[in-house]
Symmetry: none
Subunit: 403 residues, 2 copies
């Protein structure tokens, strides 16, 4: 795709706002989906004069994680660019990663007589696990010349980052999980699956020895390693598309992903309100021309199975839409990274509603913004990875292909 687009891209001054309502798509409960129940006059009106459709983040029937969902939205093939869970977790916890780093998801566990008796150390409360993680960080700063960073997640989960003195060769992360996946089994040894991973495996073995010595008297007396990974050398979003992108997102994982793609980030902590304020502040001027606005709570409500809560979050976004429209972006995209039906209380495989508003659309094919209306739109049902090409086209940034 990059090879095709590269010679076609022409820069201009047009500005794009790209809103991701996380987990937007839903399923009917009592006959209507969250989008269909929500009172959202602004979104419905906008949809009528927009190009609408449904997009498929990975493949029909495949439920995307947040990583693949967002990679697709930004035009990266999620099957090609598989970002290790260790990296996503570390980025999500606010750790910055470089080509010198190995990132690992770690779980506190309980070991007795050589076998894992609890893979989650009794789902140790975050408060308690935080203290252990801090204690580890205080006592372990380095193994040989490799710096070690710990960062606590929820309950038994935490992140470890190993920072080597120099860039690591490809394949350095090829170390399988030590988690035996079942209680009553021995933990698996740390082992290298490639010659490049041997040095990393050696450091990890010594790190585990030290950790296990330090926590030997606790209930959480063992650490299981998962998702050993490195940041992929993923091409920069701004360079591929000739755009100057800004990420307006509060949640660590999406911020981490945006940073990975070379987007600039605003320091956002709060809710939709703070994000829209930030958009209004940064939109004028010429510093940025692509604004990725990520709104998390729609997904959270879906994950909780809270149908009414998801409806309310959609309505809340709708109330802010006039402020976005008042900025008069040349192209406005509103979509999600995947569906999260309250009915399923989880991400799902269902195609995601999308609208593209620009002066160069047919419009007039839908009566509102919903899963069923978008199924009738002029964009049809398409692969999410094509969305960025459509966005570039609508901002008149693509020359024609061939004579």
């Amino acid at each position: 795709m990059t090879d095709l687009l590269k010679p076609l891209i022409q820069k201009n001054e047009k500005k794009i706002i790209f809103v991701v309502l996380d987990g937007l798509g839903g399923l009917p409960v009592n006959g209507r989906t969250e989008l269909e129940v929500a009172h959202k006059p602004n979104l419905d009106k906008l949809a009528k004069s927009s190009a609408c459709g449904l997009h498929i983040p990975v493949l029909p029937g495949i439920t995307p994680g947040s990583g693949p969902g967002h990679l697709s939205l930004f035009g990266y093939d999620p099957l090609k660019w598989q970002i290790g869970r260790g990296v996503l977790e570390a980025l999500g916890l606010g750790l910055e990663l470089t080509d010198k780093d190995i990132a690992i998801r770690a779980n506190y566990a309980t070991l007795k007589e050589g076998v894992i008796t609890d893979r989650r150390a009794g789902r140790i409360p975050t408060e308690e696990s935080s203290r252990i993680t801090e204690y580890l960080q205080e006592n372990i700063r380095k193994i040989e010349d490799v710096k070690v960073f710990f960062r606590q997640g929820m309950e038994h989960r935490f992140s470890i980052v190993l920072r080597f003195p120099q860039n690591l060769p490809e394949g350095s992360y090829m170390i399988p999980d030590t988690d035996p996946q079942k209680e009553g089994k021995e933990p698996l040894p740390v082992r290298a699956l490639s010659p490049q991973a041997e040095k990393v495996a050696d450091i990890l073995k010594r790190l585990l020895e030290r950790i296990h010595y330090l926590i030997k008297d606790k209930k959480a007396n063992y650490v299981l390693l998962r998702g050993v990974s490195m940041v992929p050398r993923i091409p920069s979003f701004g360079e591929i598309y000739g755009l100057r992108p800004l990420c307006i997102a509060a949640y660590p994982m999406y911020r981490g992903l945006a940073r990975l793609l070379g987007m600039e980030l605003l320091d956002i902590k709060g809710d939709i309100s703070e994000e829209i304020d930030s958009l209004e502040r940064t939109f004028p001027g010429n510093t940025y021309d692509f604004f990725f606005v990520h709104i998390k709570k729609v997904d959270s409500m879906g994950e909780d199975g809270n149908f009414d809560g998801k409806v309310k979050k959609i309505e809340e976004f709708d109330s802010y839409l006039p402020r976005i429209l008042a900025l008069k972006p040349d192209v406005l995209v509103i979509t999600g990274d995947h569906s999260t039906p309250s009915l399923l209380k989880s991400h799902s495989w269902h195609p995601v509603p999308v609208l593209i508003n620009s002066p160069y659309v047919l419009g007039g094919l839908v009566t509102g913004f919903s899963e069923r209306e978008c199924a009738r739109g002029e964009l049809g049902i398409f692969q999410t990875t094509h969305l960025m090409t459509l966005v570039l086209a609508n901002s008149l940034r693509l020359k024609k292909f061939g004579a």
Copy 2:
């Protein structure tokens, strides 16, 4: 695709008329597109009983040139078969090309004090430029052992073909344009981008020296080179599909493309009227069973931003449609090679309306022939490269796949 189709194809006597209204698709101006405004009772009636849809020539968001647009229509992957502009132009002017040939688009220009002051030599009239081109051909037949052919196009445009004594290695055409693209700049030197192109670049330099000496006292005193290219070894349309195709087109480029695909050509100079006359003359009998009718002016009006003119050209075609229907083709296809909305004054990325009429369609899904109606048709939104398979199927030329 060819590998899939080959064992499935069965020949029969059914006849296909395949009409391409160049640049057919449009966008709304004051709420309606050119197709929606046009009074076209015959097309609308036909659409109601046809399979309709929208097709995507290259990929969503990608604007196709005429070459890729037509290749897609004929079932060739336009990303695989990239045909140089020099080849298309030369074929269009009636030059036959072999694997020994390099084809170049050339423009007469005006050079003063080392810079190009007019890239089109004052849009020199064809009558005048023809005389210069004939003069060049009389005086230049060969450079070393390489034969040189000139052929005049319209106004400042002409074609040069270099015929080497033996087949050329791949990559021999890798020579960038010498056209600086802007007046007031120096012409670019001829240079080889691959070792295989060095011999060709050397011949071109010597050719330009001779040409510039011969025309030094004229207003058109310089020649700019563009689209240096070679014929791809593209499989024959007739052989792939088991058809005997005839091209009814007036414009050189489309004629050139048809010849490249091994279609036979009628000598057509004129307008829709002459093309329909020719169709009526050639349709009876058993010489041909696939009639590619190319109608250019719809696109030209779009390119000029002439909304009403495009509407008129669609209406003009509609008035001829009864004569096409009177021939009772077994399959009738009406579509475009890409969209050319008057609003954009250029080719665009928007999917192209298509109708397939045969006894084997659902029909009844649309109320007329337009972009928005076709979005609701039984063919959906699909890749243009699948159109020929649908056409073969509708002519009952494809056996079932697998037992």
